[in-house]
């Protein structure tokens, strides 16, 4: 899956995170900002890479500003940003690449 244009999903409200994606330079380039990076940084990175792998995204610059989001929210915001970049809002693969 190729990132076609820059896109963003999520907010900076508590329990949420804001995810921005844009075309990468041949790899996954993750920038993570979180107040709980020491406790949960590795978990957030793990969820991020797993989600991108499921979506088939291998070339992306992804920025995550975390405000204490649960794993399910991180996944939702990454998928939201990726599908926005593709401008796809219907016929989504629920239970497939999205799970």
């Amino acid at each position: 899956m190729e990132i076609k244009k820059p896109a963003m999903a999520g907010t900076l409200e508590s329990s949420d995170c804001q995810v921005t994606v844009e075309a990468g330079e041949g790899k996954i380039d993750l920038e993570l900002n979180s107040a709980v990076i020491n406790q949960f940084g590795n978990q957030i990175r793990k969820v991020t890479f797993e989600t991108l792998e499921r979506l088939g995204v291998k070339d992306v610059k992804i920025t995550i500003v975390d405000k204490g989001a649960l794993d399910c929210t991180i996944k939702a915001r990454i998928e939201g940003a990726v599908y926005r970049s593709l401008e796809q809002i219907e016929h989504l693969p629920w239970g497939g690449a999205i799970r």
Partner: protein, 299 residues
């Protein structure tokens, strides 16, 4: 029949599906149902993002037995079909149709839900439907809406849009809602399904809220849509039979069973004239006490 069709639904709490902070742990307040909203609470440019948030919440958050209903977008928008796919795939318990105006609206949703159940491998009939009635036309067509689908567990009045359509406004007294409330309860009862009242939005007037709930309880509603956890305990208190009600209901049931065997049709319990017409009501009180977790008897 889906065994959840008649479950206890005293409170249905609205939550914006796009807000992770709201949908992560509403079960701690113990509403009977939550209404994960993809419609009015979600801005037009966030409809897509809300679905991802909803899907993963349904899949990964343990709501501890609280029923998970999703309010989809209206049938005159481009969103409702994907809303249904996402909700059914996520594992929702029921879909709420907004702005229902006729039986065909229910049938359209029923068909899309059935298709989604097949697509995502869920058992046929596992997803229930409820219909919100928000217009004068919907109120006039209430009975045909109630009888449109075996999946339909109930109808709900949505007072904001309804009063706009009626060219009046919410006063807090309930006068403007009287006709619709009465009509919807009668239609729901005639069809054997449940009926839910509209939200009460003035959170600073808890006494007014209590009076509103007492009124709709007396009118026969099964429960109320709510917008804040503070409203839950009041509704549950009013809808839970008191110990006095339960003891009286037990006496009525026991006495009717005994007297029937003796060939006696009319008698008195605690000074009140009782006959067979009281039987179903007394049984309902005991059932409600059981489902509310306050029944200690053995009937």
């Amino acid at each position: 029949m889906n065994p959840n069709k008649k479950r206890l639904r005293r409170t249905m709490m609205f939550l914006n599906a796009q807000k992770p902070g709201l949908i992560k742990d509403p079960y701690i307040y113990k509403p009977d149902s939550i209404m994960l909203d993809l419609e009015d609470a979600v801005a037009e440019n966030q409809k897509d993002a809300a679905r991802f948030s909803l899907y993963h919440a349904l899949q990964e958050i343990d709501y501890r037995g609280v029923e998970r209903v999703v309010r989809i977008n209206a049938l005159d928008t481009p969103y409702w079909k994907e809303d249904i796919r996402c909700s059914v795939a996520g594992g929702c318990d029921a879909i709420r149709i907004p702005k229902t105006e006729c039986a065909n609206d229910v049938k359209l949703v029923e068909s899309a839900v059935e298709y989604a159940e097949r697509e995502f491998g869920r058992p046929k009939g596992s997803v229930l439907i409820m219909a919100a009635i928000e217009s004068a036309r919907g109120v006039m067509k209430a009975l045909e809406i109630c009888e449109a689908s075996d999946r339909l567990f109930g109808i709900a009045l949505s007072g904001g849009d309804y009063t706009k359509d009626l060219q009046t406004h919410i006063t807090g007294t309930g006068i403007e809602l009287m006709g619709a409330r009465q009509n919807l309860v009668i239609a729901a009862r005639a069809a054997g399904i449940q009926c839910f009242d509209t939200v009460y939005t003035d959170l600073d007037n808890m006494e007014g809220f209590r009076q509103d709930v007492q009124n709709i309880h007396l009118m026969g509603f099964d429960g109320k849509s709510i917008i804040n956890p503070r409203q839950i305990s009041i509704v549950h208190e009013i809808y839970t039979p008191s110990e006095k009600d339960i003891i009286f209901a037990e006496k009525v049931v026991t006495e009717i069973d005994t007297k029937k065997a003796q060939g006696i049709g009319v008698f008195t319990v605690d000074g009140k004239m009782i006959d067979i017409a009281f039987y179903d009501g007394a049984k309902r009180t005991i059932e409600l006490a059981k489902t509310s977790g306050v029944y200690k008897g053995d009937l």
